[in-house]
Symmetry: C2
Subunit: 255 residues, 2 copies
């Protein structure tokens, strides 16, 4: 069950996503609570690193990156990501050795792999932690630096680690999916790791929710033809899906 507070927090983020900024009074009126309540919400959300307050209101905090911070992404399209995670998990065979990407979508996949018999190499500390309580998954961690906020593992150590091994499947996520540019990522370090992961895995399965469609990040990871399967949700236009099908090995809509 979600508390009224959690729901309100999400609504605050939605309001901020409309226009980028909003005043305390405006949010209070729209959500039917006093300004003091909004201030307390903003205080918590700011501590989460999700937004920045200013005198009179708040604005979303993209920081130095080009996409919203993890807590925002996790709250966005949560249900679609859950469905995608479930579907991706169904494509994985017991006993396999898996590289699993970070990000909110990767975490959604992880939830459905907890009780499976697998060897998993997560590319994010957050995903690694999700498997900590699993007794059936054998967890191996690649060395590397942990990127603040995102908690992804990257750098030369991570790449070296992957290069020295071979995996059955790489479950990839991405910042953007465009018909022309393929899969792209904002963070260059993460992109370098992803490229390596593609090259050391037998097959790549890509999990992207529909909000990623027609978005292009800073660094290319791979073209749409590379993944053995692209799993997405029903939010994409049928035109986009049709075109994507023609230039990829297979598109699966999770629902």
């Amino acid at each position: 069950m979600v508390s009224a507070k959690q729901r309100r927090h999400q609504q605050v983020l939605e309001i901020l996503q409309e226009t980028g900024t909003a005043t305390v009074g405006e949010m209070g009126t729209r959500l039917g609570v006093t300004e003091m309540t909004i201030r307390r919400d903003l205080e918590l959300l700011e501590a989460d690193g999700v937004l920045k307050r200013f005198h009179g209101g708040a604005k979303l905090d993209f920081g130095s990156s080009y996409e919203p911070p993890f807590p925002v992404r996790e709250k966005t399209n949560a249900e679609q990501k859950r469905l995608i995670g479930q579907r991706v998990a169904s494509l994985i065979d017991d006993g396999d050795t898996i590289i699993l990407d970070g990000g909110s979508t990767g975490l959604a996949v992880a939830e459905y792999l907890l009780d499976r018999q697998l060897t998993i190499c997560p590319l994010s500390l957050r995903v690694a932690w999700a498997f900590a309580r699993s007794t059936s998954v054998k967890l191996i961690i690649p060395g590397g630096s942990v990127r603040p906020g995102e908690l992804s593992l990257s750098g030369a150590d991570t790449i070296d680690y992957l290069r020295g091994r071979h995996f059955d499947t790489y479950v990839m996520t991405a910042s953007g999916l465009s018909l022309n540019e393929g899969f792209t990522e904002w963070n260059p370090e993460d992109a370098a790791v992803k490229k390596t992961a593609v090259s050391v895995a037998d097959k790549t399965i890509t999990a992207v929710d529909s909000s990623k469609f027609n978005r292009v990040g800073f660094v290319k990871i791979c073209p749409t033809q590379v993944p053995a399967a692209i799993v997405t949700d029903g939010g994409a236009t049928s035109e986009n899906l049709e075109k994507l099908r023609r230039q990829s090995q297979g598109v699966i809509v999770a629902e």
Copy 2:
């Protein structure tokens, strides 16, 4: 503040540590609560993997290892470990590069390093996760397998990772500290990593609460002379402390 429930859980564990097993009625009487309350406690503690219930009572669950599982150790000597953690943190200079051991004592040290300006290489996923929310610590993870339950990082990958680097300080913990055998560890894999860590750090600081005194694990890590400092709590006998002082570089009693 500790809730009455937490305190009672600890007392339940203490009772079990006396004799190994106890009946529900016995525990209820000694702690001044009804049997139903004890049953509910046991249910939770069993879910934590701390004990095993049987009809009429419960017994401590050491599983296949030679020391109690993490949740038990974390609840044992908690206050002493906190003090030790604080004291160890005071020995570390800003800007340093640190290897930080896992275990409940390592976690206690971590709590006091969260806001420091450091580069930290944790040897356990649990400790790594503790630093995830820190903005001031630069976190680097050694590759390796995660040992279930303990969540320590070990194996050839971890050792290779450490060998390729150099650190200012290694904050070491251990299963046992004996005057004759030095520092010892039950788990051979962890011990191998610890030995490597000692060799790649300028200096080693050892954090062991007094319950470790005169206990000998399966594998030797290093003699008492090696660490630049041994930090412990006031629970050790003055005789032990005196002897230890004579055969080590320095003993610090945290209080």
